[in-house]
């Protein structure tokens, strides 16, 4: 997407969507959910595209971020905005525990990090004195009312998640355009060749894992306050990794806008169209759509739409 379109796109996102759809709380809730998926897809793609690591374990960061924020606000009385940030910090700490998996590559990394995600789900279930166990945490405080705007409502929450996603996309773009971004891109196919030039590839990969975890944790925390309730099977559900992966691949995970576009298209299509066609098993159509995308445009929807144009800067 060209830089010139950004102001118009931001205006449409911040003003157009609430003006046109703000009265329809069902559609707004779907858009909120799509942005949650999009934000996780963006964080996942940052690790996949820049870090060169395919993760099946991002549900751990969603869950840990959600639980940390929910417990600190509901039980310790911290304000919700602080809880959101600390949710991100909690996910970073979870990622620190996972750092040894950086010694692995490819499918071994993907499976090892999936195992970690399961361990965190088991911890949340068994550590009943802190997490409430399988019964979960109820009474998670909603997003606050600030200057008369109820950020706990569907439209208010939309502004919050949209801002979070925009800030994360900006951070992603900055990292990608930096010298670190160059080295990270180069590392995928030639890690030894980058190391002999002085690149500490392990440190860079770790930084990407931690940054991706922070982003995912903040979004997990947002979701906990948005929903108002957490239990382990929901907080650490596999859908927190499968849907973002589908969205990122569908949209084009090697671009910054692709995962967001993919999430909006995939989630809204699924909920508004496929679900009405087949109420049970509608995800099958998503699967077929993803296969078709991989066959006809392996680089995803965004590159398909912008084919023939100059690629995104910083992607």
């Amino acid at each position: 997407m060209r830089r010139a379109y950004f102001p118009a796109l931001l205006l449409a996102a911040y003003a157009g969507v609430p003006l046109v759809l703000g009265g329809n709380s069902y559609v707004m809730s779907l858009i909120d959910a799509a942005l949650v998926i999009g934000g996780i897809a963006l964080a996942w793609a940052l690790l996949g595209n820049l870090g060169g690591m395919v993760s099946f374990g991002h549900s751990a960061f969603v869950g840990v971020g959600g639980y940390v924020s929910a417990l600190l606000t509901a039980k310790a009385g911290l304000p919700v905005p602080a809880g959101l940030l600390l949710g991100g910090v909690g996910a970073v700490l979870a990622a620190v525990v996972m750092l040894p998996v950086l010694r692995l590559r490819g499918p071994y990394f993907a499976l090892a990090i999936l195992a970690y995600a399961h361990i965190f789900r088991i911890l949340a279930t068994e550590w009943t004195t802190v997490t409430g166990g399988a019964a979960g945490v109820s009474g998670v405080p909603p997003l606050p009312v600030i200057a008369g705007i109820d950020f706990g409502g569907k439209t208010g929450a939309y502004f919050v998640i949209l801002t979070i996603v925009c800030v994360f996309a900006w951070i992603y773009a900055r990292v990608s355009a930096s010298h670190y971004g160059l080295a990270l891109r180069a590392m995928h196919d030639s890690e030894d060749a980058t190391q002999v030039l002085g690149v500490n590839s392990t440190l860079l990969k770790a930084a990407m894992l931690l940054l991706s975890a922070f982003m995912t944790g903040v979004i997990g925390a947002f979701n906990a306050h948005y929903i108002g309730f957490l239990e382990p099977d929901y907080a650490f559900a596999g859908l927190w990794v499968t849907l973002p992966i589908v969205a990122a691949i569908f949209g084009g995970y090697r671009t910054i806008a692709g995962p967001l576009l993919g999430a909006v298209v995939v989630y809204l299509l699924d909920q508004l169209v496929f679900k009405t066609l087949i109420s049970s098993g509608h995800q099958l159509i998503l699967g077929a759509l993803l296969v078709a995308m991989i066959v006809f445009s392996p680089r995803g929807l965004l590159p398909l739409l912008t084919r023939g144009r100059k690629p995104d800067a910083g992607t």
Binding site: H179, D189, Q195, L197, G198, N200
Partner: protein
């Protein structure tokens, strides 16, 4: 500057480098020769950190680097090229050098990058995709350029002339002859062709089945009967490829 003492590298039951003791200084242009499988590239890998020696010590500038990771050795001043060129995928020629400068030296000096590009003949290729847009000679030049961009004190060149046709080889030889004087860098070069080694190097070390069997001036080394038996007698000058 580089001090190898009793360096041994074993892969299971195979001893690829056997108790090698060798010195290379900043004023050296040292040729490392030997038949295929003699352990030359493995020795480069041990020096640059790609493999860890089974035994022995490696010191660079007075500091032990035997346990240092590759990136730290590069920052200390050990630059290297690979026998099969390894351009940084997805980046342009210039970006390859920017990564080398930024991470090898901690800063990006545009004048230095321009100087290296001009020296290696890549000044008009800066925007090309490094992995897909270059011919073999240019890929080899990029290997040298990346290593030079890290501001090395010692440059390990692994068969940079291999596979080049005669004209390109002659041009490349000219570049290598200027390299030491222009950048003040010590050079260790692996090369099979004796004429090339005799032209470029003031000193030659010979490996045979991982053991260092000779170390001296080209004239003296290539008159050594053991060298002749192990290396020249095996068909040097093309036979070793």
């Amino acid at each position: 500057m580089l001090e190898l003492d009793n360096v041994t590298v074993r892969f299971g039951g195979l001893t690829a480098v056997d108790n090698v003791t060798l010195r290379a200084g900043s004023g050296d242009v040292l040729g490392l020769v030997g038949a295929n499988g003699a352990g030359k590239t493995t020795l480069f890998n041990a020096i640059s950190g790609l493999v860890r020696p089974t035994a022995g010590s490696i010191r660079f500038g007075g500091t032990s680097v035997v346990r240092a990771p590759m990136f730290r050795r590069a920052r200390l001043g050990i630059g290297r090229t690979f026998q099969i060129p390894q351009p940084l995928h997805g980046l342009t020629v210039r970006e390859n050098l920017v990564v080398a400068q930024r991470f090898g030296t901690g800063k990006v000096d545009e004048r230095r990058i321009a100087e290296v590009l001009e020296f290696t003949g890549l000044a008009d290729k800066t925007g090309r995709d490094a992995a897909t847009g270059l011919a073999l000679t240019e890929l080899k030049a990029l290997e040298v350029a990346k290593a030079l961009a890290t501001d090395p004190q010692l440059l390990l060149l692994d068969e940079v002339l291999a596979g080049l046709e005669t004209t390109a080889k002659r041009r490349f030889m000219g570049m290598l002859q200027d390299l030491h004087a222009r950048f003040g860098v010590g050079i260790v070069i692996i090369e099979h062709d004796i004429e090339t080694i005799a032209t470029l190097c003031r000193r030659v070390a010979v490996l045979n089945f991982g053991r260092l069997i000779a170390d001296g001036t080209p004239d003296a080394v290539f008159r050594d009967p053991e060298v002749m038996r192990s290396y020249v007698g095996n068909g040097v000058g093309g036979g070793h490829g």
